[in-house]
Subunit: 545 residues, 2 copies
């Protein structure tokens, strides 16, 4: 009979590409974000929390992948206005909402407006292994500060975040300037200051090609700058169509880092310096191993002197490749200024470095760009890779107001940074469970609850077993699964005698693993104590553990 | 020319019904949630964070307003599967995702599973003043605990949350049991234990009518129980169609609180007790003022004795009105048990009370229900009203698995509770801004940054002014808008002499308001100190403020 047919049950499944976070996943991320917020606060940044939902028009087409404007977001139309409702969407980053806020509250906020924001963002992309459609970002931005001092400040603050998270000596922050690339593009004839909108498509292709250097290598990038590139699957990506001469000019930028490194190498060789054979010098390591490209060149300099020398060589080379371009020279000048400000603040020159190989894929950057990488103790790239990136974007607010508002900021990839932190701290993931008060006698539930309350009042995490108490073995299994350090047991007999059994579950587990019968007897994992000494006995066990 | 026409600028607006949170709005809420999480943790609850997005089928039709199943959520269809994509939606509460998690991970989790969750939820409703479409919830639930000890624990924990937030003496938690109402419905002939699905629609109307008592009053509820009700606007709401006799039976439940209060009144009168004339007794106040209904009857008892007496009278009355109904008697028994457990834990009987007027609008509750209200010092209702509510819902997980899983939990209305806390603490909203290092000489930016870094290293929140430094007045206006306590000033002259000007902006503002010329001179708000004494001088000012 149709009427009695059971309705199909809904599937109990996290939607594709989303995930659930349990226990330590939540608390460890929170602890990390609290530390970061503390640093941001100390630098004068104020928190801002916008809602998850924005109008699609406010989000605009500034999606990370400019190949597909308007794709990649979760969007829907307001339904109660006869088909004319606004299109709403989940934010895909924290920068677009900031641009909206800076425009909307431009008369109320104190500018320069330093703000930080942390929270989930959403991308409507094909989920894959380790690729989620909701993830956390943690941003700090300064809106309304035209000077590159604001960019330097963000880099310094980022360094302090890593130091405070206990990653001292295990990170590197690389700074570059888009204007240098613009200068190179001008020299290569694909940027005309008199007609900025010409060659826009070509410049977009060049930018994305350079950003893919790590994956495609030099030949792949060259192909994309020229006619195009066919990948292993046979798919063809159209190139920028540049001439060989133009490609050569762009490649002088792409290969800037290795060219500067070679010059440094020759310089130190001529001076007979020990720098290039120092074991801890990743530049030297890279050179010895013949490696090229960003990933093997942390470019870490060892002393203020070598760092200064590196800066000099970098500036000289960059001035060469930007030739007569005004914007290019401006970019080089800004990089120098950032380096000076950071040096004056005492930032170790091997932590924040000028690195011409940094590009950042996003189209909207207009000046300094920066990214941070977690390294091993020797400053070499680790498997965690880039954990933060940002730069100056002077045009985002202009979309709303028509007036250019200078802005710069960084976004920390929370999940990657957390993974790096966890790998760094061994004891992670082993959060201790609560003390479990077992239930021997259902009628005495109120007394068990009172025991737990007493423990909590003493600051000890505690709970009463609230499942079906019939099978006592299940209660101990539960305590084990919860990671409980101690179980409290009081049956009718113990209650009559005014005592409780206190069971040390950590010791018990250890003894079960390998203790001899003698040990079992000499160090009992379970002992009887007077009811009024319960809290003291448990505290003793917890302090021992 | 169409080509050169400027594109229409997007509106810089928060979408309708959403809002932005700035500075203290964010930090004060965070501090409150941190305190709540601390209490939950101590009770053995573990954090869970699910994503904002669920499949629509997992959310189900358990929306708060059962009149409109499936309405009220923000939903969209996955677009990349030829029109057959899943429907996704933003979660409308934290309970539906918990039910999904409890079913999905039923083999991995340790049951009973105590979890807490905090985060935004979304409702696709018409926005109105103070009505937002995204707001925070903060929930604690126990899944897999059949005993009402779990409900008692949630109530105790809720009381501890309020105590720890500094609201001791300013809250009241009311507990009732749906089974009592079910018993009354059975007696009134609209619940047949042998055929539970009969009269479902009628019971839904009755439930919602009772929950609207505060707004509609006794006559309004009676109308909805009978033929229906026409409101001032002329709209007609259909009633449950009960007979006068049935309505009378239901109204004995609706008026339980005032009936019990009257009986208590007569009881104390007969005993000649001072209780009914005690000024602090809101029950007495309500009776004197002739008030009826929930909002004027906090029902707070003054002593363990009077509280015991109240419980006895309540139990007796409830047993009367549930007559021969088994489920009704069970409900009364459970209420008694909860009261006993809480008393054994030493919860003040005037903080957590049995109150038959509590119903809770949600259809899914199956046993104990509870809600918390912020009161004034005398225990009387305050403008903040109900700030938390919850109850037992034994059928939510069953939707997925077919097996009944007992569960109970509470949801705290974060915004309301925060408003109550802010009203309680005077100094709220006046977060102190950072020390502002002004820029007199653009070429010395690196040195200004170094000053700010020095202050931060000493634990003092500090920032450099990063706007256009030309107009110095603007810099001081900025410092004022930021709530900066101190401004640091160093021009060329000061730099040459190795000093800085330290300006006490708090004192300065006070003096500008009302100081005489003499005072201005005797207590200068700005003084010159040697550069190396800058940090000490500023610390002194901050400690004074």
């Amino acid at each position: 009979m149709a009427k009695n047919k059971a309705p199909r049950r809904p599937r109990a499944e996290t939607p594709k590409g989303f995930r659930d976070y349990f226990g330590p996943d939540v608390t460890e991320r929170k602890a990390m974000l609290d530390t970061i917020a503390g640093v941001y606060h100390r630098y004068g940044f104020d928190p801002l929390e916008t809602s998850a939902v924005e109008t699609l028009e406010a989000l605009g087409k500034y999606l990370p992948d400019v190949d597909r404007p308007h794709a990649g977001v979760f969007a829907w139309q307001e339904d109660d206005e006869g088909g004319k409702g606004d299109w709403l969407a989940l934010r895909y980053d924290l920068t677009a909402p900031l641009a909206r806020v800076a425009a909307q509250y431009r008369n109320e906020l104190a500018f320069p407006y330093r703000r930080y924001a942390m929270g989930p963002v959403w991308r409507n992309e094909k989920p894959g292994p380790g690729r989620y459609r909701q993830f956390y970002q943690c941003d700090a931005d300064t809106v309304g500060a035209p000077s590159v001092a604001a960019d330097a400040e963000i880099c310094a603050m980022l360094a302090e975040v890593f130091e405070e998270l206990g990653l001292g000596g295990k990170y590197i922050i690389r700074v570059n300037n888009r204007k240098v690339l613009e200068g190179v593009m001008e020299v290569a004839g694909i940027l005309d200051p008199a007609e900025p909108s010409r060659f826009e498509a070509e410049r977009g292709i060049v930018l994305r090609a350079i950003d893919k250097y790590d994956r495609l290598g030099e030949d792949g990038v060259r192909a994309l700058l020229g006619e195009g590139r066919r990948d292993e699957s046979g798919d063809f990506t159209e190139g920028a169509g540049l001439s060989d001469e133009q490609v050569t000019k762009i490649m002088r930028f792409v290969n800037a880092k290795s060219e500067i490194d070679s010059r440094m190498h020759r310089y130190w060789e001529a001076k007979g310096s020990p720098n290039i054979v120092h074991d801890n010098d990743p530049t030297a390591v890279a050179l010895r191993s013949g490696g090229v490209g960003r990933s093997t060149q942390a470019g870490r300099a060892q002393t203020p002197e070598s760092s200064n020398e590196m800066l000099k060589h970098t500036v000289a080379y960059l001035l060469e490749i930007v030739g007569t371009s005004e914007v290019g020279a401006e970019g080089v000048e800004e990089l120098k200024h950032i380096a000076e400000i950071l040096a004056a603040q005492g930032y170790p020159p091997d932590r924040i470095i000028i690195d011409p190989s940094v590009v950042r894929g996003l189209g909207y950057y207009t000046g300094p760009v920066y990214e941070a990488e977690i390294t091993d103790e020797k400053g070499r790239s680790s498997r965690f890779g880039s954990v933060a990136g940002g730069g100056r974007y002077d045009d985002l607010v202009k979309r709303f107001t028509g007036q250019q508002v200078p802005a710069t900021g960084v976004s920390i990839g929370v999940d990657r940074l957390l993974a790096a932190l966890r790998a760094d701290e061994e004891e992670s993931g082993t959060t201790r469970g609560p003390v479990v008060v077992t239930v021997m006698d259902r009628a005495r539930m109120a007394e068990y609850q009172a025991m737990a309350a007493e423990l909590r009042a003493a600051g000890i995490r505690a709970e009463v077993y609230l499942g079906n108490p019939k099978n006592f073995g299940n209660q101990l299994k539960y305590a084990d699964k919860r990671g409980a350090p101690v179980a409290v047991i009081q049956g009718e007999d113990e209650a009559a005698r005014g005592v409780v059994q206190v069971k040390d579950l950590v010791l018990g587990a250890k003894m079960a693993e390998g203790a001899s019968l003698e040990e079992w007897k000499s160090q009992p994992a379970q002992r009887e104590v007077p009811r009024e000494e319960m809290v003291a006995a448990i505290r003793e066990i917890l302090e021992r553990g």
